[in-house]
Amino acid sequence: MFNRELKKGSPELLVLALLEEEDRHGYEIGKLIETRSAGRLQFRIGSLYPVLCRLEEKELIKGRWVEHGGGPRRRYYHLTALGRAFLKRERDTWAAYVAAVNQIIGGHHA
């Protein structure tokens, strides 16, 4: 039932989930993944940046430059309506996937 691509798709899921709360810039997203997972998940810029590009290309997120009081601009990412709908479905799929895996390996339901 679960596509083997699912795991490859999970960084996207993380990014989308974080952007659901508010618009964020690239470095902040990587940092949040690290802190919220208590350091268990780490995404370096080199691996996260392609994810952002990909998501933007697919119009799931939208980037825009924001000026910060004279300093260099930051690129903030915003979740599009399409991204929101996509996130909702992928979240369900993920939950189902986790539940199925847990069912088999005998862990607690996530």
């Binding site: 699912l6 470095y27 080199g46 590009c53 290309e57 260099p72 399409l82 996509f86």
Partner: protein, 903 residues
Amino acid sequence: MPDWRLYVRQNLKLSHATPQDEADVVEDIARQLEDAYLEALNQGLSPEEAEEEAKLHITDWNELSRTVPPSKGYGVLHSALQKERRQHMSIVDWIDSLIRDVRYATRRLRRSLGFTVVAVLTLGLGIGGNTVIFSAINSLLLNPAGLKDGNRILAFGVIYEKLNVKSTTVSPAEFLDVRDSKEVFSAAAMGTSGNYNYTVTDFPERLLGERVTPEWFDVFGVKPMLGRLFTAEEDKPNVNRVVILDYGAWQRLFGGDASVINRTIELNQQPYKVIGIMGPEFRRRDVNLWTPLALPPTAYTPRSRFNESYDLVARIKPGVSLEQAMAHVRLLTERVHQDSDVAGRLARDNGWSITAQLYPESIAGDLKSPMFVLMGAVGFVLLIACANVAGLMLARAVGQTRELAVRGALGASRWLLIRQTLTECLLIALGGLVVAMFTADAGIRVLLALAPQNLRGISISVDATVMAFTAVIGVGAGVIFGLIPALQTMNGQKMEFIKEGGRFGTATRRQLRLRSVLVTLEIALALVLIVGTGLFARSLSNLEGVDTGFDAKGVMTGMVALPPPLYREPDKQRAFHQSVLERLANIPGVLTAATGIPIPFVGDAGGAFAIEGMTSQPGQPAPQGRLRVISPDYFATLRIPLLRGRTFTNQDTANTEPVVIIDENLANQYWPNQDPIGKRIRRTTSTAQWTTIVGIVRHIKHNELAADSGKGVHYYPVYQTPQATTFAVLARTTLGSAKASDAIREAIRTADPGQSVFELRTLEDRVLDSVGSRRFAVQLMAIFAALGSFMAAIGLYGVISYVVAQRTHEIGIRVALGARGIQILGLIVRQGMRMTMAGIILGSIGALVMAKLLSSQLFQVRSFDPATFALTAVIVSIVALLACIIPARRATNIDPLDACRYE
């Protein structure tokens, strides 16, 4: 602080981004690295350590360069995304993209016109052919036009097993049995056909009528369009002067005038009142009108049994199954067998029983099995067509793999590519359907033109359901094979396809193998079709060559129906016969002429007789023979040899000794080792006299070329037999059929200007009509076999052309190395012939199985007929060779220099 922009710009190598995009990417990444650097400083690292820490974020610059900006991906994410996108798409967008798809597909199809034409034609002919046959079967057998629930109507007959006699008519006794079975049949009716001369001008027109009991129309579930049906009161002798007209006759004779109701018209010089018009949907072949049967009440008696002369039909009651109805018919037979009286004994002794079959089948008659053979044949054509379209789509799709892969890499989604392939398939299907409509229409016309007598006058309408069904099958095959390569392209093999050059790659090899298999199957199927046609054609020619025992060549025949009220007197009948025959004898070019009823291959009559001095044993059937009534020159006209004794003369009249002539089979059966001449027999009717056998003639085939029952015949002279007033006039002439017809017409008019002659046909045609269904089947099968072979040849041609194109490079090298044209030709042709041989072997096995299944339909041809099989293999080989040689010749013309550049 390090210059992060410079750092990123030095490391990131974006080859295909616009300068603006590149600047954005550099700025974004630089800003993030700066964030990381600043954070590290905040955590207390030294500037050097912080710089190192930040640089660790991106270790593989090449990987990053490759993925930024990313090409569109193909994973789950992407296809899921497509779904989202589709959900967000408005109907306008959808129509817009549909139009785009159609336009694009049309452009592509036009670009490969050859492919498109062949695919459309193949599909169209396959679908059209099937539609014709299925429509015919539907109109004939499953759902005959104008019958409400035709498959709830039974037609009855009787059979005398021990006498080998089958009758499709019954006696009033059986009618009573069926009519009184109210728990099984909701309506039952009896009828018989009759001829009516309709007189308005000097030329009487003959109308075919049916005399029926009032329930006749209830059985068929039809109501009159105008007027009313017969009442029970009108179904009595002398009050039965009412008539219901068929729609066609009403249009033709009265121009569709509704005021004809209640008008009196003259039929057979008697006044009849028109009381109703049947609608156009109730067309019963040639029937023009109906009148009440009007048998006297005394005719409806169990004693009428074994006197079969009426058609009997009945409608099965709702809720009663066909099996139950058939079981009930067996029960009716059982009841008669259990009778203790004479009827019971006769029924048991002769193996008599009542038979019933579905009415539509009784109409279709001997056409039923040919129709199902044809259905099989046309099914084969459809299979070949499907294989062909599949092969074509496969070839085309694989030919486009590289294009698809490149477009995929450039960002076309899998769904888009599939949609475009589908659009193409559907366009081809649409084209195929248009061709199929024309084919079906023309095909039905051809079918009716070729059709034997019993199909004429039946309307066949194109069955849209069948057409749609076959179209789905054909298109389905195309879509499946068209999509396989498109899907393969999507499954991560893009690079392989892109890299693959003009030489044999694994994908092309796989598709070539698949196409070869398809073509081999096509050849096998075509071979089965040709063998089938061959076996049937040989059966037909064997049948047509059967010696009938008489010489039909040069004999013209016509039917005359004298109105019984005017020709009740035997003298008047005899005067008419003599006048006609004398007149004919005086026409130059007429060699001999005769009258007779029934004549060979037009109807049959039989009768039991007693032999003087011989009492039949209990349990032994009474002597039986075919019955013929003839004029003196009958044997001379048909050139039936007289073996012993004499033929009839004009002196054999009512005033002389009653005489009879028998054939050799009757003589051998009842007077073995004796001389029958001078013996006396008497027909078992109440008025019959003893008649003396005066001659023995050769046995002839009377009704069927294939299986003659060998039953003997007794012939009676026309002037001693008050006989039926419908009879045939036969004339052997040297005039040719048109002038011979005129001669007969002229003779009838001279004898009685009020009488007409109908069904003027040569005797030869009548004999051939008996195998009409077979000829019809053979002709159609030949068409299908030719069609199938042609399609298979196209398939083979396509594959070989492809092989030549694929091997151009190799062939060029061979030519450069000194290979001669003939060697190249052999090389290519061998490849095609390998497929052909495989197809022939496979097909021969299939044909053997088929022939075994059809052996009951063959005549004097064994199911394994080496000549047919060998000839077919030769035909298939020649066609295949032609299909190979055309592209192979192209290969021999390859210029080595061009070939090496070719890719």
